[in-house]
Each structure stands twice: as C-alpha cells, then as structure tokens.
C-alpha cells in the first residue's frame, strides 16, 4: 500500500538529542561527610571529577504503532519503550475503578527470566503511583520495554524511558518520575550512574525512582552492603542528580513542542 511506505519513509518524527552532564556545582555543596575522591581514569566513562551523570539522549515518537514511544540513552545504556493505552482489557484482568497497568521488559538476548519479572514489578509499582488510573477505569495501559544495550544503570534507564513514553502517549499523570543509580565503592566512594564495570566492583548498588514535584522517593531497589547513613547520603545524591534529569526532560519536551 502506498500509504504504508510513505509512513515509514517519513521515518522518525522528532529527534531530540540533548547532552547534559551534571557536573560542577552540585559536588561542592553536597556530601561534606562522604569521602569523595576525584575519579581520574576510572574505566571508559569520560567524566569529570566527583559524581556526575553520563551523557543523556532521548528520542520520542519514533515507533508508528504504539500510542507513545521513546528511546532513552544514558552513556552506552539504551532502552526503547512503547506504551499502548488506554486500550481494551480482558475481563479477567479488568479493575472496576482504575486502569490495569502492565509492564513487559524484554532483555537484549535470551528469554525473559526472573530478573526481568522482578524489574517489571518495580517499574509497574512506580508507574502506578504516578499515573491517574482512576480516569480510565476498565482499560489497560501497557508499557513495553526493550533493552537495546546494557552498560550499567539499566533499571534507571528503563524508568526514564518508560516516563518519556508515557508522556508521549498522553497518559494522564500526576507527576513525572526518573530513575537514578548509585554505586558504593569498597571504601565508601559514591558514584552516580555507574557503568557495568563499576557496578560489578561496587560493594552496593542502589537505584531510586524519584518524582518531579517534590523529589519524593517512589521506589528503591538496592543490592549489597551499606550502612544507614550511606543510604541517606545516596538518597540525597540521587535527589540532587534527579534535578538534571528533570531539566533534561523539560528541555527535550520543549524542543518537541516548539517544532509544531
């Protein structure tokens, strides 16, 4: 059909690439207690001294079939998200007063296993806290995430991609959310947005989902050994880093709407 080929030839509609690096100001003021050392020459991630986030990029509305889609890149980690909804729901799964939210996470290789199921549940709980499901009872909202490449901080990248895809689909939400990962070194050094090498060598890896209104904690998933005060320090660092993510969201959405 001629119409089909035109649609694919037109290709991706809005390509928004914005580079943000969260460096500088935040390190001086935060974590006067924590031992932060300059990270010179750690692995392959080109970062400035202290804690900083990797290069971000986001692209919206790139898939033609889902109601909303987004691709989120953090350094070398890339996740593609598609959202369908509010759509028909099977009678066995419908909830009488709110939307049924389903999250499907597909790994890059192999069949989805228990780790994917557990991440799906975490992402679903985060989305349910933020989506206004009561506006669409007896419908289903499905978020499909495909891991394109995994180079550390995968759960946070999935959360960011899911948020951008939900915004693209026009699902009503009470706030935006973002994911930030922290890794704690054996000597207590805090690294934000770790690469897979840093995650493997870390003593503890903590992922937080924060909302955009008051930077409140929506979800936390932690692995490893850490103390109470270290948890609070990581949370504070994540809250400060989330500002940069939300500013990046705002810039990319403004750029998208400025074209029309």
């Amino acid at each position: 059909m001629v119409t089909q080929s035109v649609r694919s030839a037109r290709g991706r509609a809005e390509v928004i690439i914005a580079a943000t690096r969260g460096v500088g100001a935040m390190e001086e003021e935060m974590h006067t207690d924590a031992k932060i050392r300059a990270e010179i020459g750690t692995g392959c991630s080109p970062r400035g001294p202290g804690c900083s986030l990797r290069h971000f990029a986001c692209e919206q509305n790139l898939l033609s079939r889902p109601d909303g889609s987004a691709s989120f890149l953090q350094g070398d980690t890339s996740v593609l998200a598609g959202v369908y909804g509010p759509a028909e729901v099977k009678v066995s799964k419908e909830i009488f007063n709110k939307a049924t939210l389903e999250v499907i996470l597909r790994p890059k290789i192999g069949l989805p296993g228990v780790a994917e199921k557990s991440r799906e549940r975490l992402i679903r709980n985060t989305c349910e806290a933020v989506i206004l499901g009561t506006l669409h009872p007896r419908t289903s909202i499905t978020v499909v995430l495909q891991v394109v490449s995994d180079a550390g901080s995968l759960l946070a990248c999935c959360l960011n991609a899911a948020c951008m895809a939900l915004v693209d689909a026009g699902v009503p939400m009470r706030a935006l959310f973002c994911g930030v990962t922290c890794a704690l070194d054996s000597d207590g050094t805090l690294v934000l947005d770790p690469t897979s090498k840093q995650e493997k060598e870390a003593r503890a890896v903590l992922t937080f989902a924060l909302d955009s209104v008051e930077r409140k904690l929506l979800m936390s998933s932690t692995k490893g050994l850490y103390s109470d005060s270290e948890l609070q320090q990581c949370l504070a660092a994540a809250q400060a880093a989330s500002q940069h993510v939300f500013r990046f969201y705002r810039e990319s959405l403004q750029r998208r709407y400025s074209k029309s």
Partner: protein, 275 residues
C-alpha cells in the same frame, strides 16, 4: 543522618506554583500546579465605579474557570496532567474566567460526549450495532438512531460499514453510545458512509488543526481535485476522489501535512497542480 537530608533540602526546589496567565502558550509538564487569577468583581455594565455589594467584605470573589483537557482541579489550583502547550480562551459572554486547556499531541482517542467520529461496525447483536471507534471499548449504536428508521424500516447497515455519528453517552464509567441523528431527528450528514474511498488514521492534533475554522490546507486540497472528505475526531479520515490514484495522493498529503511547514506544502501542491 539529619545533615545529608538538610543538604538535600536545598535541592528540593519543588515546582513552585506559577500563575496560569504567565504560562500561556508555553510547554507545561505533568505535575505542575497553576494558580488561577483571583479577580475582584469586574465593573458592572451599569457604568464606572459601580460595584455589586458583597456580604463578605473581605473575601475576594472567585471566578468560574472551566478546566479543559489535560488539567485537573486540585484544591483551588490547576494540576497539569498532560504535556503540551497551555491555552486559554476568553469567555464569550464576558462573565467567568474562560477555559484553560493543554494542547497535547496524542494518537489514542478517548470518547467524549458530543464528538463526531468515524466508526467501523464490528458486530450486529439484536437491536444494536457494536462500532469500533478506536477507544478502549466498542461503542453501541441502536438501529433506531438513524434518520427515518422505525421498527419496520430498518437501516441497511452491514458489518464492516463505516459510520459517521456522534456520542450521546461517553464517560469513563459507561460504555459509549453513539447516534446518527442530531437532537432534531435529522441526519445532518451522519449515517453510513458510502462505498469506495479510503479510511486512514492520523493523530488527534492534526484533526483539530484541519478542523480549525481558518485552515488553509483543506481549501488548497479542495482546489486540487474534487473530493469527498469526512473527518472523525477519533483521528480517522475518510477520503474519496474520482480515481484511486487521486485518492491515494490525497491520503498521503494529509498524512504528511503534520510534519511539513506551509512552504513545503505549497510546493507540493503546486507541483501536483501542474502534473
């Protein structure tokens, strides 16, 4: 433990609520709160200096503002729930605060009462037809909701037909119901859409743009070829021209309109008009 938290508090620059007036035309994100202008009573039509007496001398009067798509009321503020540009329309009669809404780009349709949509008949069960309108549920259409339809004189509607109708019941709790007559009982253009032609889907924002009163695209398209065109608010457009080739060209132009600037569009139209 208190120290890191207090340091973080400096960064909790939560979205301060902004006045809706200052944000008009700008992109707003979900989670933002907007303050409504609290106006004193406007000067009455009686003349300068007259103000209606109010029993509570100190209280400022509230203005009635309509909350459109993308906004929800939260206390006495507006909470933005969708991303898009904030728009405002002044009230026609001069009373009240007007309408605020968010212009967002969406592909999925949610049934709204009064919207005219194109549906596809999927099932005939007893006295009603099930019509797929692109929402979460198929809408129901009674066979009596056509012009001139009686129990003896049933309309000629088959499964797979295209129907142009409007919603009479469309809310989140009930199954949507549509009819093909207006409140006076006349068809007014609604009913079964004829044979041939092409149905295709576009985004909801494009439909609103094409249906705006001062849209040049439709006028230019009309000058190109003689055509029949039906717009459904659910993102569906049905188009029919004399030959299949012309129909396909029109369909491609309308789909591409969303991403073209007006200059590119004029170029394409002039090229087509020559050939």
């Amino acid at each position: 433990m208190a120290e890191p938290v207090s340091v973080a508090a400096e960064y909790l620059a939560g979205s301060r609520a902004r006045a809706a007036r200052t944000v008009l035309g700008q992109v707003v994100l979900p989670g933002e709160e907007l303050l409504l202008p609290e106006q004193e009573d406007a000067e009455g039509p009686g003349g300068a200096g007259e103000r209606p007496l109010s029993l509570n001398a100190g209280a400022r009067s509230r203005v009635r503002v309509v909350c459109g798509p993308g906004l929800r009321r939260c206390g006495d503020r507006l909470l933005v729930t969708k991303c898009g540009r904030l728009r405002h329309k002044e009230p026609g009669s001069g009373y009240g605060g007007g309408v605020y809404w968010v212009d967002s780009q969406q592909k999925r349709y949610v049934p709204v009462k009064g919207d005219h949509v194109i549906g596809i008949v999927t099932a005939k069960s007893g006295d009603i037809f099930k019509v797929d309108v692109g929402g979460s549920e198929p809408a129901s259409l009674s066979y009596l909701s056509f012009e001139g339809a009686t129990k003896r004189n049933r309309p000629n509607v088959q499964v797979g037909d295209l129907i142009y109708g409007q919603f009479v019941v469309a809310n989140k709790d009930m199954e949507p119901e549509m009819v093909c007559i207006d409140s006076c009982g006349r068809a007014n253009g609604m009913g079964v859409i004829g044979q041939d032609g092409l149905l295709f889907k576009v985004t909801l924002g494009l439909i609103r743009k094409l249906l705006a009163p001062d849209c040049e695209i439709i006028q230019e398209v009309g000058k190109l070829y003689p055509l029949e065109i039906v717009f459904g608010m659910n993102g569906r457009i049905w188009v029919k021209a004399k030959t299949i080739q012309q129909t396909l060209i029109l369909a491609n132009i309308l789909e591409a309109c969303e991403h073209m600037t007006s200059d590119q569009r004029k170029q394409i139209f002039s090229r087509l008009a020559e050939s």
